[in-house]
């Protein structure tokens, strides 16, 4: 007996509208032929043209891309190792260190890394941001990879070992191909998290380095302009694409992520 009351539907519909209308407004106004984000005037692609000619924005996008690639690559390798380790061995410290960066408010990681880098006389910039991003991405990759391993038949690896494969060969030729969708999903997730991160980047970037979210922040602190809508629309499109691919590769992703 599954009766769904219209009241429930109405409430849920309102909740979905609440989630999507604000984002839709950002997208729609990116095509609006008006400086004010207040009412629809007419269609234009001017804000995208302006974006393509904005050197600061392009430099920020380049920085974000470079940091995202390095951070996702390194955190995927380390996160996969952590996921495998947590699946195979009974460890005490590693699971805590994996979950803690996800569980505590982001600002804490930002400020503690700021003190850390400054005390070590480490110049704040692209490298410090990448190091910080790797630290918070490892956990996400590890959780996705572990979920994949939990659904895998471990006897296959055992069989490879019994046939004389070294641990590395067994991992390389049996385990890794089987968990590959999880690894790739983890990598895409790490890239998305890195390219989207504002809080931790804000504290670890220093004065001279600008990423896409930092550039958006300084623009909206001054004024609301449709150019921000245009860059936001492109960024949302990129994130959407990456996450949909990641979710296809690893369906468990949608439930396990950030649910720790």
């Amino acid at each position: 007996m599954r009766r769904r009351s219209p009241l429930l539907w109405a409430a849920a519909l309102c909740a979905y509208a609440f989630l999507y209308v604000p984002l839709a407004i950002v997208v729609v106004y990116s095509f609006n032929d008006s400086r004010l984000n207040a009412e629809w005037v007419g269609f234009t692609l001017d804000w995208y043209r302006k974006l393509a000619a904005d050197d600061e924005m392009l430099a920020a996008a380049g920085n974000s891309l470079a940091i995202g690639l390095v951070a996702s690559l390194v955190s995927t390798v380390l996160g996969t190792m952590a996921g495998v380790a947590m699946h195979r061995y009974r460890l005490r410290l590693l699971p805590i260190l994996i979950v803690a960066p996800i569980a505590i408010p982001e600002i804490l990681m930002g400020v503690s890394l700021l003190i850390f880098f400054v005390l070590l006389n480490f110049t704040l910039g692209l490298v410090s941001v990448a190091l910080a991003h790797i630290a918070f991405c490892i956990g996400f990759v590890a959780i996705v990879v572990r979920a994949r391993l939990a659904g895998m038949d471990e006897t296959l690896t055992e069989a490879a070992r019994d046939c004389g494969a070294t641990p590395w060969k067994a991992f390389r030729h049996v385990t890794l191909p089987l968990i590959m969708p999880g690894v790739v999903a983890g990598a895409l997730m790490a890239f998305t998290l890195s390219i989207d991160d504002f809080v931790i980047t804000f504290f670890t970037a220093g004065a001279g380095t600008v990423t896409l979210p930092l550039q958006i922040y300084s623009m909206i602190k001054i004024s609301v302009t449709p150019e921000v809508n245009a860059v936001s629309t492109l960024l949302m499109l990129l994130t959407l694409l990456l996450i949909v691919i990641a979710a296809k590769l690893s369906p468990s992703l949608l439930r396990s992520e950030r649910e720790t």
């Binding site: 909740a15 989630l19 004010l36 061995y89 590693l94 958006i216 609301v224 994130t239």
Partner: protein, 299 residues
């Protein structure tokens, strides 16, 4: 020859070692340094004072902790942050409950899609989601005009929607809603329909069925969601920074100020530690209460 192999110990370190080392260096060590910094004095030009001064006196004290406890303004900011976070949690619960119920009751083939639709906005950039509310609540936008139009009918002056506590609260709810829906859904999905049918056979009406059965059983999900919303909301700084007015300084803004503007690291560290400890205590309490209520509901 399955089972323990001679290479396990080495393999274990080879696999677990690198990520462990990385997180020890870039997560645990900075956290530890922050704890140590909270017991030091601020430096003359920001940062920390020298550990050992010219007179040979070692710089270790609890001055910053004393300052937090004695100057009431900081406690007030903490209380205000907790108030905003609590209100956010309550509103998220009210919005998320019908949504999670609907998803849990939908046909299996639609569930993943409906769930995906809840999660997707969460994956769009955090700043973009804040910016969207700058547009909606802006002084020239339709909403502000409508609200102030209605207020004018009653003779009340125009109120700004943007740069206010209202804007901060709306955006806090907006950003954290998915965190409440997910654990609630995960809980509601597991409920046994037979219990509700039995209650109905025994004459319970819809409200009684909800209040006496569904709601108590969903409490673990409620507590998990509350922790997932309250903790990040407590430490938020970007939302009040962008959407709030001058009086909407929350604990996150205070921490940012201490590290980037006044550059008083010891005091900033104290604030961060108080925030961490409250977050951990809350998460622990939520997990404990959740387990207990589940036990009570089953008994």
């Amino acid at each position: 020859m399955a089972g323990t192999r001679p290479d396990t110990r080495l393999a274990r370190w080879l696999v677990a070692g690198p990520p462990l080392l990385y997180l020890l260096v870039f997560f645990a060590a900075p956290a530890l340094i922050m704890v140590l910094a909270s017991f030091r004095s601020p430096g003359e030009f920001g940062g920390l004072a020298p550990l050992v001064d010219e007179a040979g006196k070692v710089d270790l004290n609890v001055d910053s902790y004393a300052r937090f406890l004695t100057e009431t303004v900081y406690m007030q900011v903490f209380v205000k942050s907790a108030w905003y976070a609590g209100l956010t949690t309550a509103i998220c619960l009210l919005l998320a409950y019908p949504l999670a119920t609907l998803i849990a009751k939908s046909a299996k083939k639609y569930r993943d899609l409906l769930l995906l639709l809840v999660i997707l906005p969460f994956w769009s950039n955090f700043l973009i989601r804040i910016y969207a509310w700058m547009i909606i609540l802006g002084p020239n936008a339709a909403l502000a005009k409508a609200v102030n139009g209605v207020l004018a009918v009653f003779g009340a002056g125009p109120v700004p929607l943007l740069f206010s506590g209202f804007a901060v609260l709306v955006c806090l709810v907006y950003v954290h809603l998915p965190f409440m829906v997910l654990p609630l859904y995960a809980n509601l999905e597991k409920h046994d329909q037979a219990l509700l049918d039995a209650a109905q056979d025994l004459g319970a009406n819809a409200w009684q069925r909800f209040w006496r059965i569904t709601f108590p059983l969903s409490l673990p999900g409620v507590y998990a969601g509350a922790a997932l919303v309250f903790i990040p909301a407590l430490g938020i700084f970007a939302i009040p920074d962008i959407l709030g007015g001058p009086e909407d300084t929350l604990i996150g803004n205070l921490i940012k100020q201490q590290f980037l503007e006044t550059r008083d690291w010891p005091f900033g560290s104290v604030l961060s530690i108080v925030l961490t400890v409250s977050a951990l205590v809350l998460a622990g309490t939520a997990a404990w209460v959740g387990r207990r209520s589940l036990g009570a509901a089953r008994a």
